[in-house]
């Protein structure tokens, strides 16, 4: 593993506006702060349920969603907090759901693994591994049949590529040329099992040729690389040349769920990926620009901290669901 600290070069940053780049930084910092505070709340016992977190994977969520139009769709997984925040759900509507309040984004009926907001282009996250892949394919089919321009970005992990639903869903997206971007966040572990133990292929992207679709492996902790690859994939989809498979190489810098201490992740590996922390990868590049100072980044980090702390306090004040809500929303 490379010992160098990864950063995005000035040359690659130059074509973009300061506002855009700081926006990417802020969204990633917001996700990190959200996840760190949620972890604390969970460990302190003040948040119910279980949690699957995405510290270290902020660039995949933000890079992909920044490249989409607001009316485009995503589908997500059991690890959805980052995707939701990147797609524009507010910390408050998610936190309210995580606290099990009746005013959460799913009225307290979904919880951490099923957060979503259709008005913001995110159906409830689907927590059966690979279960969202046929769903995203069907959403893309609807868009195509209704002659709409929206694309669907379908998030899943490396573990999902061993599921039949992955094969079936991607194959149908391929045969019908659907406007869907299959986004594999390869963090190298399906729960605790290393990807090398479950496939003989070196890379997930080799699967793309099996379905006759284009596929690209991207440095997933480089938010700009993810953004650019997704923009290009979305353009292809809108021209009727979908689907596209993206493999985003990244790393989960936290447990699979709850109190997982990650003893299966070798120390050297963790340290190496620590040098590729996606927020720092962007931050180290940003300060090379004349118009961005370290103080700008610090200001953003303070801002998102305040935003999350405020949202937590607000979410705590929200009402519990009433028992009259128990049996509603089963049928339309």
């Amino acid at each position: 593993m490379n010992q160098e600290r990864l950063y995005i070069s000035l040359e690659r940053l130059t074509p973009y506006s300061k506002e855009f780049l700081l926006g990417l930084y802020e969204r990633m910092a917001l996700i990190r702060e959200f996840e760190e505070q949620v972890k604390y709340l969970f460990l302190a016992g003040s948040m119910p349920g279980t949690i699957h977190q995405c510290q270290g994977q902020e660039a995949t969520a933000v890079g992909v969603c920044s490249a989409l139009a607001p009316q485009d769709y995503i589908t997500s997984t059991h690890r959805p907090h980052g995707h939701a925040l990147a797609k524009g759900l507010t910390p408050l509507e998610i936190l309210t759901e995580l606290f099990g309040k009746g005013t959460g984004c799913c009225k307290g009926k979904g919880g951490s693994m099923h957060i979503g907001n259709m008005e913001k282009g995110m159906p409830p996250a689907i927590a059966i591994v690979a279960g969202g892949i046929p769903i995203a394919t069907g959403m893309a089919l609807a868009n195509k049949m209704q002659k709409r321009q929206e694309v669907v970005a379908c998030f899943f992990g490396d573990g999902a590529t061993s599921e039949g639903a992955f094969h079936e869903g991607v194959n149908m997206g391929a045969i019908w040329n659907l406007p869907v971007i299959y986004v594999c966040e390869n963090n190298f572990y399906g729960a605790s099992t290393h990807v090398s133990k479950v496939t003989r292929k070196e890379s997930v992207i080799d699967r793309a040729s099996g379905y006759g679709i284009p596929g690209h492996t991207i440095e997933g902790n480089d938010v700009l690389a993810v953004y650019e690859a997704t923009r290009q994939a979305a353009e292809e989809c809108r021209k009727g040349r979908g689907p596209v498979l993206l493999e985003l190489l990244t790393y989960r810098m936290t447990g699979h769920s709850r109190r997982d201490p990650c003893l299966y992740q070798p120390k050297e590996e963790r340290e190496a990926w620590g040098r590729r922390d996606p927020i720092e990868v962007l931050g180290r590049g940003l300060v090379l620009r004349d118009d961005i100072q370290e103080s700008d980044l610090e200001r953003i980090r303070n801002k998102v901290n305040q935003e999350i702390m405020d949202a937590i306090e607000d979410a705590r004040q929200e009402p519990e669901p009433t028992l009259a809500d128990l049996t509603t929303d089963v049928y339309a």
Partner: protein, 335 residues
């Protein structure tokens, strides 16, 4: 016009597709020119009128039930066809975890208006193309389940299902389709009906009294509704006046109609094709006990298949499938 169930379903699908451009069909071998129109001819020829809305899928049941669900949440109204009800088991994750639950999980934000069609029943094909898989979808909150035994009901229920905003499963019986030509079935029972020219629906959630009677209520659906009518005729010659209720809606049950009959007769026989243990008859019996137990004059009788996979040999298969004789025996035990 007198139509078979296969023809009635076909005309219902065509009319609904003409009425609403969001309706489309998805499944295996459903729209192949020169093909069969699905395994039992229901969609035969529809691809000529609806070229872009008869979508033939790969053999990927879990995948295409998920595709249908995804399309439904974005405003389409898919009718998904599975060739044999047994293959629904390949699609259990998408049906049970997504189609049925997305609405609740989203706090009511998502609608899943989709129709799922599945042929069931033991018909000379051995164990894996024979199961009555209705039982696996009764007790799945979020899904409605119907099982038409006549062509009139098949058309009306399918139309109601297409217009409903929920996932609706329609179970159809292979011996009731009246499929013709190469797809004709041995042992077919006549389920044709006079079909009116005008548009109509049969509301979901309703049972139908097929024969009025006073002494015993026989509850059945699909092929067993026909067998129960045959049994009732036999019982009449013995002086037993049986009422036959076509349960028709398996989720939810129409306890109003069922209850009225049970309170009148005080005696209940429930007939189910499929293993007795863990079947739909068990749920119905418990539901009747809870609601109308005070009206019962005798314990509820169940007539079902033994707890075995469906056998192949015709002599064994005929013993597996409840017969009019066994239904008569159960009714006699109650009187």
């Amino acid at each position: 016009m007198r139509l078979s169930i296969a023809e009635a379903l076909r005309s219902a699908i065509a009319e609904e597709m003409r009425r609403d451009p969001a309706v489309f069909c998805l499944g295996e071998d459903i729209g192949v020119p020169g093909g069969w129109g699905g395994a039992f001819t229901v969609t035969l020829g529809l691809e000529k009128e609806f070229q872009d809305r008869m979508i033939d899928t790969p053999i990927s049941e879990n995948g295409f039930f998920g595709v249908a669900t995804g399309a439904a949440i974005l405003g389409m109204r898919p009718i998904v066809d599975v060739q044999y009800g047994d293959f629904l088991l390949c699609a259990m994750d998408q049906i049970h975890s997504n189609a049925s639950m997305l609405r609740y999980m989203s706090g009511g934000a998502v609608k899943v208006p989709m129709v799922m069609r599945a042929p069931v029943g033991a018909t000379g094909r051995g164990a894996q193309h024979a199961r009555n898989t209705e039982r696996f979808f009764v007790g799945a909150p979020g899904i409605k389940v119907v099982a038409p035994s006549t062509a009139y009901d098949a058309k009306g229920l399918l139309k109601a299902a297409v217009r409903d905003d929920n996932p609706v499963m329609i179970f159809e019986h292979k011996l009731l389709y009246g499929s013709k030509g190469a797809r004709a079935e041995t042992g077919t029972v006549d389920a044709t009906s006079e079909i009116p020219d005008e548009d109509y629906v049969v509301p979901l959630g309703t049972a139908a009294i097929r024969r009025q009677g006073t002494q015993v209520t026989i509850l059945a659906w699909l092929l067993m509704a026909h067998f129960s009518l045959t049994a009732a005729q036999q019982l009449e010659t013995e002086g037993i006046d049986a009422e036959v209720v076509d349960v028709r809606s398996l989720s939810p049950f129409d306890y109003d109609t069922i209850g009225e009959s049970v309170r009148k007769t005080g005696r209940v026989v429930i007939v189910e094709e499929g293993p007795k243990t863990g079947g739909i008859a068990a749920e119905l019996a418990a539901g009747i006990m809870e609601r109308f137990g005070d009206s019962l004059l005798a314990p509820i009788e169940r007539v079902a298949s033994p707890d075995i996979p469906a056998p192949f040999a015709p002599v064994l298969e005929n013993a597996y499938r409840p017969s009019p004789q066994r239904i008569c025996e159960a009714a006699r035990r109650l009187l």
